[in-house]
């Protein structure tokens, strides 16, 4: 959070000034080094590795003379991350080899001159240092002077943005920013003539800069993958062990090893061993062996070797997955094997990796967080002192992944922001926010990437510890991959935990736990071809099912009607933001519309209805049509799928079109194919990856179809699904499952499903401490609680926990003879120090209270419906004893239709009531106007709605604060699936208030 210049803009400025070299010296880091090298080569400027070492006890610039110098810089940066407060000499003393060091302070030069020879130590003449002072130091220490720009921003006027970045970093306001924490306005990017102007008497120092640059390392190459084992002996051993393991695995996976299987294994093993990838497979296999429920994703799922090693779960022969997308004879860079683990087992797996390979060789991949439009506005607004509410009023209308940069203009013109009053401050904030987009904010931990090196990780990349003590490398996944380091993705997957928990639960009740008689086994479930599973998918009832639970996918499943494995693989790939148009074309073709592939050369599109859905089809089209070689076609695929490479898309388009034209393809065909390629921008899958996902989707769907209570309970317990817990519980009700409230004797921490019931877990209770839950579960092992007194004597919870449990109804079964209020009184009594039983007189008095008065009020002896509703919302966040629409039914029944009957009203405009379930913002294809897909639910069913731009503009704001709606809309049908096009949207509680003289106060969100 110091410099405002992006790497490309810095390099463009350097190239425009005719500079041949540039040193990129970040403050105490090499965060963007690999990217810098790539950009520099693209800009035809020679990159120099360096770092601006700044501690509280001095400052120096280090430049790499050679590879040793780079390695030492990496070690130095790691050392400064370990201990930020130490002197420059202490840091450098062990790592001086291969470094050029520049300093401008007397004390630093004085101490450095003792450990660094004159040939490698220089006096730095930078803006802010006078020529006289530099010359004096030069004479004193007999050192040469080197002039530097010490650049923090490109243009002078960016200084204000630099100060804003510092204020953001230091969590302060501009007026409170201490002057020594930011640079003066002199640190802008200067051309040579500008340098001469500020240092007119130091032409030699300016020339020295060029000589020094020529002496630094400038040829960087990161082709060779750095494997955990390097020696010939190790590689030989690895090859042998891999072959043995694959052979053993193949016998477990296949009943009979056919010639086809054997040939494929041999072919893959040949390629793997000849490219030296065997150690990699063994490392991954070793990690995967630590747990049972895993799923290998990515292109690795196309490998029979991975399948035989139980890294992946899809048979590549049966499902026709091409190995070449994974390892191609022409491919030099790292093959990817990403493995998903149950999310709650991932940390244990990472612990295992760190223990096995040690901190010296291992580090988690970093996730570099940059300022995006949303965060930029948030942070800049904080510097200007805006409150969270004010900031949210703008940011809540901006999507997390918005890439807009012209924020001020956007806010001024987009109808989503029409309610925002733009004053001078807000305009300035938006203007400044535009400038800080893209600034590096902070590092965080990548969800699962681990780097393992053969010797010392610090010599390849700087490492640091996160506040939680996890060692991470400075680079994010793309830089790690491009640098040639071995990266293994160990990702947490909630659905795997759902499958595990569901199977565990099923085995417990159906298999006979004591006999260890397993009813189901993860590796033996055969969901494909199961009638009940197919029916569930065909009806789109896949809430909770991995990857195919979003409203868009549920509708796609129902519309398509075809739900075999091949189709689910296609659907998993085609559901991506830029491919909507092709989804509809595909649906028409599935339903029998005649079609043909665009050109006989594109025969490989036949498997997906003539539409490009998999990444490898992009590469194949590029090779077939534009004549690109394997490496080029793969680079095009990579460019399309990476957000960070979108600036290169136009170049690839030109190349593709030129190549295709040259090979005689018609222009309209080229355009059509490119538009399909373009739909892969930012987000796409290869077929093996989709197949892996589809397999897990099938497994989940199978479990939901056959064991809905167990499955949905596991979905809610593992959290993080597409929908809220409320939505999943509603889904459970629609499956005829009874929801039981938490109970001190029967609940566990998680929700537990059993046959046709789900018992809510303690985790559903807000404000209940984990330690209390643990204590209850431990204490219950001895014997169940027999009475309230027994519970409070054995557990002794604090008042807040007792309140949370009482309000959630945990004690009802313990004291059926007491009312809720009486239980509450006893709980409070016990918790506030009452050792004895509660005096009955008080309990009786509480219920009595029949003092006559001139004002007559109704007496409430037991829990009223309103109080019950309030307590449920306070305890769980939603009502469980009735539907949220219940309080309004008396008013709306007869006036609105029910969701379950929507089929009867196709083409008609009707009224409906609904509770918010989820929504998704989208834009129209032609005009890019905002619109919204909304999922609502009434007490009979869930239903999908659309708000087209005009309606969205009118009623969109209501979605920001209301959860209960009354709508008027037209019922439409497409491919047999119903949706409602909303014409009018209103707040149900508001309508209720207008109809009633008194406010019910329980139409909760």
């Amino acid at each position: 959070m110091q410099g405002t210049a992006s790497q490309p803009s810095l390099l463009t400025a350097a190239r425009n000034q005719g500079m041949r070299h540039i040193a990129f010296t970040e403050t105490n880091g090499l965060w963007g080094f690999i990217r810098f090298v790539q950009h520099a080569y693209a800009a035809e400027v020679e990159p120099i590795a360096g770092v601006n070492l700044i501690t509280e006890q001095g400052e120096a610039v280090l430049l790499a003379e050679n590879q040793n110098g780079y390695e030492n810089i990496s070690r130095i940066v790691s050392a400064i991350h370990d201990k930020p407060i130490q002197s420059i000499v202490d840091i450098l003393k062990d790592y001086t080899v291969g470094l050029f060091v520049l300093a401008h302070e007397r004390s630093t030069l004085s101490s450095l001159s003792k450990i660094i020879p004159n040939s490698h130590l220089f006096v730095e003449l930078r803006p802010g240092v006078t020529e006289r002072a530099a010359q004096q130091l030069s004479r004193e220490f007999k050192l040469e002077i080197v002039a530097t720009g010490d650049v923090y921003f490109i243009r002078r006027e960016d200084w204000h943005t630099h100060r804003i970045l510092r204020a953001i970093d230091l969590n302060t306001t501009l007026s409170k920013l201490p002057s020594d924490t930011y640079k003066s306005g002199k640190h802008w990017f200067r051309a040579e003539k500008d340098m001469v102007r500020i240092f007119p008497n130091s032409l030699e120092a300016i020339n020295n800069t060029i000589y020094l640059a020529e002496g630094c390392k400038r040829d960087w190459s990161f082709v060779n993958t750095i494997f955990p084992y390097l020696s010939l002996k190790d590689t030989y051993q690895a090859n042998r062990i891999l072959k043995e393991k694959v052979k053993a695995g193949a016998h477990k996976r296949y009943k009979k090893i056919t010639a086809q299987i054997q040939d494929r294994i041999n072919y893959e093993l040949y390629l793997i061993t000849s490219k030296g990838f065997a150690p990699y497979f063994l490392v991954v296999e070793d990690i995967v062996r630590q747990t049972r429920n895993t799923i290998g994703r990515g292109s690795g799922a196309a490998s029979i070797v991975s399948y035989c090693l139980f890294i992946t779960q899809v048979d590549p022969i049966e499902y026709n997955l091409q190995f070449e997308r994974f390892i191609h004879p022409d491919r030099n860079n790292m093959p990817d094997i990403d493995v998903d683990f149950p999310w709650d087992e991932r940390d244990d797996i990472l612990d295992y990796v760190f223990k096995k390979y040690g901190n010296e060789r291992t580090g988690m991949v970093c996730s570099q967080v940059f300022m995006k439009p949303r965060s930029a506005i948030r942070e800049v607004a904080k510097v200007y002192g805006l409150s969270n509410e004010e900031i949210k009023s703008i940011t809540k209308r901006i999507g997390w992944y918005t890439s807009r940069r012209d924020l001020l203009n956007w806010v001024k013109t987009d109808p989503r922001f029409e309610h925002i009053q733009l004053d001078d401050t807000l305009e300035e904030i938006l203007r400044e926010s535009q400038k800080v987009i893209g600034a590096f904010r902070h590092p965080s931990v990548h969800p699962g990437g681990v780097v393992i090196v053969p010797d010392e990780i610090r010599k390849y990349v700087p490492v640091l510890k996160t506040p939680k003590g996890i060692q991470i490398v400075e680079w994010e996944k793309d830089q790690v991959e491009d640098s040639g380091l071995l990266k293994i993705d160990i990702l947490g997957n909630r659905s795997l935990a759902v499958v595990r928990d569901t199977i565990k639960q099923i085995n417990l009740y159906y298999g006979g736990f004591a006999l260890k008689n397993k009813y189901l086994d993860y590796h033996k479930i055969q969901p494909i071809g199961d009638q009940k599973t197919a029916m569930l998918m065909q009806m789109g009832k896949t809430m909770g099912v991995f990857y195919i639970e979003s409203p868009a996918t549920r509708q796609l499943l129902a519309k398509a009607g075809k739900v075999d494995f091949e189709h689910i693989v296609i659907y998993s790939s085609i559901i991506r933001p830029a491919a909507n148009r092709f989804t509809n074309i595909m649906l028409e073709r599935i339903h029998g519309k005649p079609w043909d592939i665009l050109h006989p050369d594109l025969n490989f599109l036949k498997e997906s209805y003539g539409i490009m859905v998999y990444e490898e089809q992009v590469s194949m089209a590029a090779r077939v049509m534009a004549g690109m070689n394997y490496a080029e076609a793969d680079a095009l695929r990579k460019t399309m799928s990476r957000d960070s490479m979108q600036h290169l898309v136009q170049g690839w388009k030109k190349k593709f079109c030129k190549g295709a034209k040259k090979r005689g393809y018609k222009e309209n065909l080229i355009e059509d194919v490119w538009s399909m390629i373009q739909s892969f921008v930012g987000y796409s899958f290869c077929k093996p990856h989709s197949a892996s996902f589809a397999m897990l989707s099938f497994t989940c769907a199978y479990l939901k179809a056959h064991f809905p209570a167990e499955f949905l309970a596991a979905v809610i317990s593992n959290q993080g699904g597409f929908y809220s817990s409320y939505a999943y519980l509603s889904e459970a009700r629609r499956f005829g499952i009874q929801i039981l409230p938490p109970d001190v004797n029967y609940s566990w921490e998680k929700h537990i499903g059993r046959k046709s019931k789900i018992r809510m877990g303690f985790m559903s209770i807000r404000n209940l401490q984990e330690k209390t839950v643990k204590e209850i579960l431990d204490e219950r092992k001895a014997r169940p609680f027999t009475s309230l007194n027994d519970f409070f004597v054995r557990i002794n919870p604090d008042l807040s926990d007792a309140m949370a449990m009482t309000n959630a109804g945990c004690f009802y079964a313990l004291a059926p003879e007491l009312t809720h209020q009486e239980i509450a009184y006893r709980a409070a009594w016990y918790c506030l120090g009452g050792k004895n039983e509660v005096p009955n007189s008080i309990i009786l008095d509480l219920a009595k209270n029949d003092i006559t008065s001139e004002f007559q009020y109704s007496r409430q002896d037991c829990l009223s419906v309103e109080d019950k509703h309030r307590l449920e919302i306070e305890s769980f966040g939603f009502p469980i004893s009735n539907h949220p629409l219940e309080p309004y039914l008396s008013m709306i029944n007869g006036r609105v239709r029910k969701a379950k009957n929507l089929f009867q009203y196709i083409g008609r405009t009707i009224h409906l009531a609904g509770v918010y379930i989820t929504r998704k913002e989208a834009t129209t294809v032609k005009k890019h106007e905002p619109m919204e897909f909304l999922t609502l639910e009434d007490e009979t069913d869930i239903y999908e709605c659309v708000l087209f731009p005009e309606t969205f503009q009118k009623y969109g704001d209501l979605l920001l604060w209301e959860n209960l709606f009354i709508i008027r809309g037209k019922v439409e049908e497409s491919f047999g699936v119903i949706s409602v096009t909303i014409e009018k949207l209103g707040s149900l509680p508001k309508m209720f208030r207008l109809n009633q003289s008194t406010d019910p106060q329980w139409g909760q969100k």
Binding site: N171, T172, T173, S175, K176, K382, V383, Y384, G385, L386, S387, N388, E389, E390, S393, H419, I420, Q421, D423, M803, T806, N807, H820, Q821, A824, Y825, A828, W829, L832, G833, G834, P839, S841, I842, D845, L846, K848, N849, I851, S853, F855, Q856, Y857, Q860, L863, D867, D957, L958, L960, W961, S987, P989, K990, R993, L994, D999
Partner: protein, 382 residues
Amino acid sequence: MSQTVFHLRLRDFELQAERQLDASLCTRPIAIISSHHQNGTVVSVSKEGEEEGLHTGMKVSLARQMSHSARLLPYNSALYRRLNQYVYSIVQRFTPTVEPSGYGKFYMDMTGLEQIHKSHEQAGSKISNIVQDQVGLRSVLGISQNKLVSRISSAVVPDRIHRVIAGNEARFLSPLHSPVIPTVHQPPVWKLIKFLILNRVCQIQSIVDSSDEARRLFGAYALPLTQEVRGQDLSAVQSPMMKDHILEQTVLKEDTNDITTLWSEIKQLSEQVAFKLRERSQVAKRVRLEIHYTDGFKYESKGQFLKHDNITVLTETWRLFEIANARRNRIRTILLDISGFHQVAQQMELFEKDTKIDRLSSALDIVRKKFDFLSIHSANVS
């Protein structure tokens, strides 16, 4: 002789004032807002506004979205102050001891004045009528033995005048909703009241009947809670001059976190306080500085003024401000609450000690005493 306290309440004072000014607002949904800026809040809402879903404390931006028909009127404090002052002067005709308790609310000590007005009810009726006739605002009046019950009566009883007969206080309170009791609003008490679902005062009364149980449940709050639910209140009606607090507040023209602007506001505020302290020849042992941020958060710090010259007061106020201002957010209001006064120890100076600043300060005090504090402003010259 038992006390008699009136509490005069002009319900929805701000709304009534606005409707008095513009009759066309009488049937429309209206809301008084703190500012037209989107982060302003709704201060008061008419019944029609409530039906539209508006409520007090709501953000102006949300109020605008929820109700397009409601008129959102900015807080016209000049109008409310004028009307309030007028009502104050009317009620002062009936008793010398009147304690204003916010706009449109007054306690009146009517002890011993029953004979003059024939009966308290007649006195009440007269006050109410005069306020209605002369100011055009409707009022309700609660009469009882103490401030608490009178105030609750004027808040909950729909009648224009309601008298709670001495000894009937507990009976009067028993069917009312628990939140009418002030101590119920203390967070620990409220937490328990909600938990035990003690929706009515009578339910609290039955608990506090046994002092041991009450103490166990409500701890230090048991005693005030017991007294309040029984309708007991010993506090006296006090006229403003008797108050042992100096309360100075500045509402910034525009919310800001700019240190230069805040410095000049603090300077102005501290000079005002120093001037008042010098007027009283007192220093203060308890000083509380409160900062109200735009988003409603409130931070405070505490200190003392051991001298009452401008520099000491400013230095201490700025120190307190820097401690309290722990956030980056923009500030809307700064408040100084000063109490714990005691006389300045006077000691003869053996040598001439008057500085130029002291002399200037004395001169300014003289001018300000004569022409009001705001007659002279200090300014930063840079």
